[in-house]
């Protein structure tokens, strides 16, 4: 159980990493990321989390309720406590959940690093051009729930360690190995070189999801709602459709990932 460190000023230099979270929010990089809320912290303090934590910061009023959670943290993790007024002064906005943490990104693996570590039989999810943080978070949540071996993003997609993406992923972003690098085309080249069959979800797909015979190494390609996957990517993949009602063939891309991962992970 770590020792609690009460703060008396929002300007305390030990919590510099929490200052002006809104800016970090926009940048989403710089070696650190923000975790917040009980459910995500529960994942962050478990063995499933792939990242190190630097510190926690919680509202004094929440210390008692969160004692069980804090007890799971390593003894040497700094856990700062502060009044709600000081917390608001630190981060520049009211923290509803009264619980924040800073994680360390560590060395960022590239696509090739992640691919090299996959088991012989593998299912990976490949979001291409997905810039909506809710959707990236939803995809990471589903990837964790259905045990996908990795998530491989092109660089046009948003960062799964962006604050809101982590929150929506309910911690999935901390659990599923991922990389984010290069173009969609280059990513497909790497997947094919590693023996993956490309399965591209598309409303006009050639086969239905139920007809797909799960290959030993399956890469599930997902495009942004609206534009979908580019033609040159579809041309290189087995295109897969989820049958829908005529006149309303519209699914959210995170929901699509859940339906497809459920079918392929079975």
């Amino acid at each position: 159980m770590p020792r609690l460190i009460p703060l008396t000023s929002p300007d305390d230099p030990r919590i510099d990493a929490y200052r002006v979270i809104k800016e970090r929010d926009l940048v989403g990089r710089g070696g650190r990321f923000i975790v917040e809320g009980r459910t995500v912290l529960d994942v962050a303090l478990s063995k499933r989390n792939r990242f190190a934590l630097e510190s926690l910061l919680l509202a004094e009023s929440r210390v008692e309720a969160l004692a069980g959670l804090i007890a799971q943290a390593p003894d040497d993790l700094p856990v700062y406590t502060a009044s709600q007024a000081i917390l608001d002064g630190i981060t520049g906005f009211h923290i509803h959940r009264g619980l924040l943490g800073i994680g360390l990104r560590g060395a960022e693996p590239g696509i090739e690093d992640v691919l090299a570590r996959l088991p012989e039989e593998a299912l990976v999810v490949v979001p291409l051009g997905i810039t909506n943080h809710d959707n990236v978070g939803g995809i990471m949540r589903n990837a964790a729930a259905f045990g996908a071996d990795a998530a491989l993003f092109d660089f046009a997609s948003c960062d799964p360690l962006y604050r809101k993406a982590i929150r929506v992923s309910v911690g999935g972003s901390l659990v599923v190995p991922f990389a984010r690098e290069g173009s969609a085309g280059a990513l497909c080249d790497r997947l094919i070189a590693h023996g993956f069959e490309l399965l591209a979800l598309s409303p006009a797909g050639a086969v239905t999801l139920a007809e797909v015979h799960r290959p030993k190494r399956a890469a599930l390609l997902l495009g942004a709602e609206g534009p979908g996957l580019p033609d040159e990517i579809l041309a290189r993949a087995t295109t897969v459709r989820i049958p829908m009602k005529a006149g309303f063939d519209s699914l959210n891309v995170a929901t699509t990932s859940g339906i497809a991962l459920h079918a392929l992970a079975a």
Copy 2:
């Protein structure tokens, strides 16, 4: 093609229904609802929309781009146009999409009205205690995509015609017949009386989704994330689980509805 009616003042009484949308947003009732954005308006102006429209309001700058859409509207539908400055003055906040409409709720059917009109073979989705507008919108989107015959909400769930729920549903809330009335227990009574088998999604469900034999009349019960469905409801239903990875058995409820509707609609 309706005639366009240019406005010169945000105080024009013909557009009273658009005034102070934020308040309507909170109330979400009063006989009218708000539709916004091109995709939802596209559904609202189609034959799939179950509701009448009262008027449209669009930014002058969008008239040319939206001409094809407006041409689908009935000739007698008032279509107001205004400068962005006037639009902002009317609704009290900036309208990014430059396109709003007012729909009329009409006579609100009860649970029994909707049940009485269902075909002999039917699939209904039953959200219980779901208060999150994104999730209700996501469920309505999936219900429309997979052709559910109706959505039946208990009164503890939020209104699918709430502004954000319509937006997230991408128009699904306008398409799928729904009612929202009474307690979860009373709703289950009515479903059973109408010959429905209750299928309750639950992480501890007795059978997997893949094992479910689709009954002629199937009611898919969904509870809120976190608390889930109450024990007394689970006790009356066939409980169904979606197999997930140990240690991360967490799915968003709208995603859950998509996975289950895809399986049951097939």
